[in-house]
């Protein structure tokens, strides 16, 4: 009997894994995700504009020397009369003119500072000019107090804080990732789980509906018990999901282990090595960046996340696939299923909506409860795990999840057994409950 489930599983698995769409998404998804990360930088690159020259007419006479040019914005001194600027008769050497009024230092809120441009300005340009002028005015004002060693005092006052979070509930007071990184990872994990549960859960459903519609089901149940067929399908599709996650995980780990060192500057790699060895100076400027990078690209961390993802994905998938299997067996087509599936998907969507607030307060009562309730626990747990939560909570959550799968699949099997021979009627939840009670 066990062997028969094995044959069903291998058929389901082989059919899906050999599909072109599976191969393409499995390989393309990581590439797409990489592109999405790189895209902003690429776009910035392409939209960089050529440097613009701005003529500054400084009536105060003290501000211009304090203004600094940037890569994109060149500031030059100018003495063109305002009237010819207004008329556009500038000779074309500058694309804009900044006029700083005489009382700019005393009263900058007045309309003493104006920018005349020969075209539209950008936010970047406006922010840069405002920032430069404000800074210059502040410097002039400070100097007017006539304090000795002013620059030294200012440098001394400047504070650059690096916050290192350490856990008193972990061995060696281990350093952990900063909250903001955990937050981001948690949200991404919740979304990945959401995608997988919906995608693969629905796959089980549509495949059962298809079998029912072309009546191949009637032929199969002459050799295997309906429950074995359902179980074989759920496990077969589940294996496909696990395969996909593992392939992605391995790709990610490979990228972390080989690609990242290749593209990172050598100094950063050396710093990461010293961070990992615990010898890095915590007062270094880029301490935070390096610590983030090194935990994100640590193969150990990726493997740990991969193991949890696989466990919770599998548990969540099995639970939801059982529900979707029962629904699929009961209906004749996908349209009829929509009402029942939307009912089944409510907990997944609730978990997704809650994941933001859970990532904000990973130890809250709500977070704890939602990670025990099996319908929400896979996603909620994956949101919380990056923060490092107590092991017992994870274990309780996993046990409850798999126990409720066992219960649900037993119930689904009863519905399935009756449902697959029911044609032509759109069933309600009431019908499903009645079928489950049949002998």
């Amino acid at each position: 009997m066990k062997n028969k489930i094995g044959i069903i599983i291998s058929r389901e698995y082989a059919e899906r894994v050999s599909k072109k769409s599976f191969i393409i998404t499995t390989i393309l998804m990581p590439v797409l995700m990489l592109l999405m990360m790189v895209a902003p930088a690429l776009i910035m690159n392409f939209t960089t504009q050529e440097a613009k020259t701005i003529g500054v007419i400084d009536r105060t006479g003290v501000l211009f020397p304090l203004l600094e040019s940037s890569e994109n914005i060149q500031l030059v001194n100018s003495d063109l009369p305002v009237d010819s600027i207004k008329a556009g008769a500038t000779g074309g050497s500058c694309s804009g003119y900044l006029i700083i009024g005489e009382d700019a230092v005393v009263n900058p809120q007045s309309t003493a500072i104006r920018l005349f441009m020969d075209g539209p300005t950008t936010m970047e340009m406006e922010q840069y000019l405002t920032g430069q002028v404000s800074k210059a005015i502040e410097t002039v004002r400070l100097q007017s107090y006539d304090i000795n060693n002013l620059q030294e005092i200012l440098d001394n006052v400047k504070a650059n804080v690096t916050l290192i979070t350490q856990r008193t509930d972990k061995a060696d007071n281990a350093e952990t990732m900063s909250g903001s990184i955990s937050f981001a990872i948690g949200l991404v994990m919740a979304f990945v789980l959401y995608m997988f549960l919906i995608m693969y859960g629905q796959m089980v459903m549509t495949s059962i509906i298809e079998e029912k519609n072309n009546r191949v089901l009637e032929l199969v149940v002459t050799s295997v018990r309906p429950f074995q067929l359902m179980m074989g399908k759920i496990l077969g599709v589940g294996l496909v999901a696990v395969t996909q996650v593992l392939i992605w995980g391995v790709l990610l780990a490979l990228m972390a282990a080989f690609v990242v060192p290749m593209v990172m500057p050598e100094t950063a790699m050396a710093e990461m090595a010293s961070y990992q060895a615990g010898t890095m100076d915590v007062t270094a400027d880029n301490y935070e960046l390096i610590s983030t990078l090194s935990s994100l690209t640590s193969v150990g961390f990726i493997v740990e996340m991969l193991v949890y993802t696989t466990i919770f994905l599998l548990g969540g998938f099995l639970l939801y696939a059982s529900i979707f299997a029962a629904i699929g067996s009961a209906v004749d087509n996908v349209q009829d299923a929509s009402q029942l599936t939307s009912f089944a998907m409510i907990p997944i969507i609730i978990a997704l909506i809650c994941s933001t607030s859970i990532a904000n307060a990973p130890m809250s009562t709500m977070a704890t409860w939602l990670s025990i309730i099996p319908f929400t626990s896979p996603m909620v747990m994956m949101t919380r795990i990056p923060f490092g939560i107590p092991m017992w909570e994870i274990i309780v959550s996993i046990v409850v999840l798999f126990a409720s799968f066992a219960l649900m699949v037993w119930l689904a099997g009863k519905i399935y057994r009756v449902g697959i021979f029911m044609y032509g009627k759109k069933p309600t939840i009431k019908d499903l409950i009645r079928w489950a009670r049949y002998k």
């Binding site: 044959i7 009637e218 032929l219 002459t222 018990r225």
Partner: protein
């Protein structure tokens, strides 16, 4: 007496709104072909599903080879359901192997035997084609092969001839008889009464979830033929018919004149079912006085007659019961 391979004892099964099977019993002797007849919706498919261990009866039991039917017995049963399909995207050969393995064959055995069957049916070149490229009749051949491949002791066909053209239906019939000769027991349900006459040794007729008639086909036909005769005669039969109406139930099979043209035909044929106490001699004597008798023969009823008459009589009885 023959050994019974399958015994169904007082099986009942109820669904939400109706009783699908009501205290049905039947015995299927080993090595024979057994016909399961009955109007649409009588409960035949439900009975076959119970025999196949797909659904469980509410009460009653099914014995296979003397012991209560278990899931393991399914390996000795081949079932071709009425509604049947194959995985459309799968290749024919791969799919046939899949079904054969579900029945407990090893991949190597399945492949070897399948190749033989495919050659036998002349469909060897379909092996690597996808099922969606096959016609319905072609797919049915594949399904037949899959059903019989594992040499089951009991074969069950639900409406095997629906969807087959006459040539393939005949092929199927001869295969079924061949399997029977090899010792396989066959149960099949059908509406095709002529196939019952040529194939079945025994039948059961189910109407509105009850077994209303069981027995050997030859016996049943003889039994039903009792008191039934055909009478052909020349001449005016008006007076004779009045006379015969008192002695038998009379049905005109062939009239003396063509109703559309009015031309006289050589003879009139009547089908008679004699009333209680009336002998063939009485009929011949009565006829001999009035017309010229061309022939007088015992009538062997077709399964069609038996089916229709039994079901209609049963329906009348049930109505009276209500």
């Amino acid at each position: 007496m023959d050994k019974n391979l399958l015994q169904v004892k007082n099986v009942s099964k109820a669904f939400t709104n109706h009783l699908a099977l009501d205290d049905v019993s039947l015995n299927v002797p080993e090595g024979k072909v057994y016909g399961l007849l009955g109007p649409n919706g009588a409960g035949k498919t439900t009975l076959l599903r119970i025999i196949n261990h797909i659904t469980a009866p509410d009460s009653g039991e099914v014995l296979f080879d003397g012991h209560a039917l278990t899931g393991a017995d399914v390996d000795h049963i081949g079932y071709l359901p009425e509604e049947r399909g194959l995985y459309k995207k799968m290749k024919v050969g791969e799919q046939a192997i899949f079904f054969a393995r579900l029945k407990g064959l090893s991949r190597a055995d399945a492949t070897r035997q399948l190749k033989q069957w495919f050659d036998h049916f002349g469909i060897a070149d379909w092996w690597n084609r996808k099922v969606e490229e096959l016609s319905k009749g072609m797919a049915q051949k594949v399904q037949f092969i899959v059903t019989v491949l594992h040499h089951p002791r009991l074969l069950i066909f639900d409406e095997p001839f629906s969807g087959f053209d006459p040539i393939n239906a005949n092929l199927l019939k001869s295969e079924m008889l061949k399997l029977r000769d090899e010792g396989t027991t066959i149960i099949f349900s059908t509406h095709n009464m002529s196939s019952v006459e040529t194939l079945c040794d025994n039948i059961t007729l189910i109407n509105k979830s009850r077994n209303i008639l069981s027995g050997n086909v030859a016996d049943l036909r003889r039994e039903f033929g009792q008191g039934r005769y055909t009478l052909a005669f020349n001449g005016d039969g008006t007076e004779l018919k009045e006379m015969l109406d008192k002695m038998a139930r009379v049905e005109t099979v062939a009239p003396g004149t063509d109703p559309s043209t009015g031309i006289s035909l050589p003879s009139t044929t009547l089908a008679l079912k004699l009333n209680e106490g009336v002998t063939p001699r009485d009929v011949i004597a009565a006829a001999n006085e009035r017309v010229e008798i061309a022939s007088f023969n015992p009538l062997v009823p077709s399964m069609d007659n038996i089916f229709i008459e039994t079901v209609e009589r049963n329906n009348r009885q049930r109505k009276n019961e209500e």
